[in-house]
């Protein structure tokens, strides 16, 4: 029984990593209806910003945290300005967006590698000890606990903004129809700015937490493919869906590793993705948009 519980904790912890990352995807998808593959790059930059804040600038932990969130937010917004806005203004087919997103993600990953920062991985200075908190026979890592708390708080914060504030209302409205919202007086450009900012902020936090739990390296963007799968699984465009999808994915991966074989872990994620796309493309809680003929 304790083995099962241990794997459960492992799965939840992994799921919370995916959750923070996938929310950004869903947010962008809900409004702009395309998958922002460059999100992974933003997460990676967040991890690096946090790292350099802690090592070069020597700021205390929480300051670094906030700085990495802000830095990533700025990056995300700039990307929107430079890459997506021109396409949006020209009503480009959505596939152009995806290709540009892919291009942006390749660009980000490799510019870090080519720059003096280089491809070698870095590890965060140990802020927390590795000795776990033992509950019964089950080990709960300190960083895992922190991640869980921060993820939950940020997600609650985000949901609050979306559900209870005026700006959240405009976000929700725009996600239904950009045209209608514009007609109702919503400044769509501003809304898109906000969602990229929010998504970027969360990405920064996610990146830094990821870097602390594991290591910092330019290919972090690749891990986010998993969180993307989680977002699809939960339903692209639905925030609660992204969160639930992520937790479930984390659990499924861990249980597969724990009870079947660790080798199938990645495969299960993709099989899940394909299964969802074939049988229920809108995912668990996604919104269905029909194209009117």
């Amino acid at each position: 029984m304790s083995y099962f519980l241990q794997q459960l904790i492992n799965g939840l912890s992994l799921g919370s990593v995916y959750a923070l990352m996938s929310v950004g995807y869903s947010l962008v998808y809900s409004i702009m209806n395309f998958s922002n593959f460059a999100h992974g790059g933003v997460i990676m930059i967040g991890a690096y910003i946090g790292y350099f804040c802690l090592t070069l600038l020597g700021v205390p932990f929480f300051t670094a945290f906030i700085l990495s969130g802000i830095g990533s937010g700025i990056l995300a917004v700039s990307m929107e300005r430079i890459v997506y806005r021109p396409l949006r203004k020209r009503n480009a087919p959505f596939l152009y967006f995806i290709i540009s997103a892919m291009g942006a993600s390749i660009f980000l990953e490799n510019i870090v590698i080519a720059s003096p920062i280089g491809p070698t991985f870095r590890s965060y200075p140990a802020v927390f000890s590795t000795s776990p908190i033992m509950i019964g026979g089950i080990a709960l890592g300190r960083i895992d606990l922190l991640m869980f708390i921060i993820s939950t708080l940020s997600l609650i914060g985000l949901m609050y903004i979306i559900e209870k504030t005026k700006i959240g209302l405009s976000i929700r409205a725009t996600s239904y129809s950009i045209k209608a919202s514009t007609l109702m007086g919503v400044n769509v450009d501003k809304v898109i700015f906000i969602i990229f900012l929010l998504g970027g902020l969360l990405a920064g936090l996610a990146g830094m937490l990821f870097g602390m739990k594991y290591i910092v390296y330019p290919q972090i963007g690749n891990i986010t493919t998993k969180s993307f799968i989680a977002a699809v699984f939960g339903g692209l465009g639905s925030l609660p869906g992204a969160i639930i999808g992520s937790i479930l994915l984390g659990l499924i991966e861990t249980m597969t590793s724990g009870y079947l074989s660790s080798e199938y872990r990645d495969l299960i994620a993709f099989v899940l993705l394909i299964g969802v796309l074939i049988f229920k493309p809108t995912g668990l809680m996604g919104k269905t948009t029909e194209d009117k003929a």
Binding site: I99, A104, I106, A114, Y264, F270, D291
Partner: protein, 300 residues
Amino acid sequence: MSWGYLSGILILTGINLMTVLGLSLLTGFTGLFSFGHAGFMAIGAYTAAMITLKFNILPESMFQLQFYLALIAGGLVAMMFSLIIGKLTLNLKGDYFCIATLGFGEAIRLILDNVDYFGGARGLSSITTQGTTTLTNVVIINIIAVTVLVFIIKSRHGRNMVAIREEELAAQTIGIDVFKYKMISFAISAFYAGIAGGLMAHYFGYIQPIMFKLVKSTELTIIVIFGGLGSVSGSVVGTILLTFLPELLRSFANWRLVLYGAAVIIIMISRPQGLMGGKEFSIKGIVRFFAKRRKEEVKS
């Protein structure tokens, strides 16, 4: 530049070109984007390699023939997979289709990682390289491929595919069986990719699943876009450029992918029609190009 080295790059270009040609049909002419074609290359590569490694049914002297059969088998098996995958996913909205191909591409790679019969994560090695993939082979196969492709495109079928790319709903309205043509396009692109994979396996002499990562699929799609959607000569020129340049700029290897990424974004924003702009090489076109240059020189 030593011939050995140059011929190596030309062979690599040829291999890339096979897949790019297939992708050109799928993406450039039918308007479907795939991020999983490295998966079809993998299928072709492993099938062809298994045949020449383990199923040598023909006598030693007919090894060349065995090789060609292996290539074709690789293409056919890849095509079979595409038929299954296509049946399941071509009904999806464009965006989801992309994601599904990404999923399948990765899934194929991961399955190969885990099946020990195919060498698992360490792959297959000691594949015969002598007398199999040679520059002559690759060039001839590519010429055949281009010819067939142009033939398809200029035919009624090709025009139907372009119609689907332009406006799917309208195409359906006038009676084009959209699903069927998407399938045909997908299947042919998988066939080409499969053959490319087989050639690749017999060039390197060994294959590992990690050689068919998502990045490879993305790079191939980028080449098609760079060359220009809807242009076969664009795909050819694009592949040649984008296979040679990294070799020439070896010292700037790190920056190659940075430039790729930036180039993609710039192309999408300013010149989404790519290098050739959807047009093909023709004698008239080249003459006109130089005539215009001279006119501009006179003006300025």
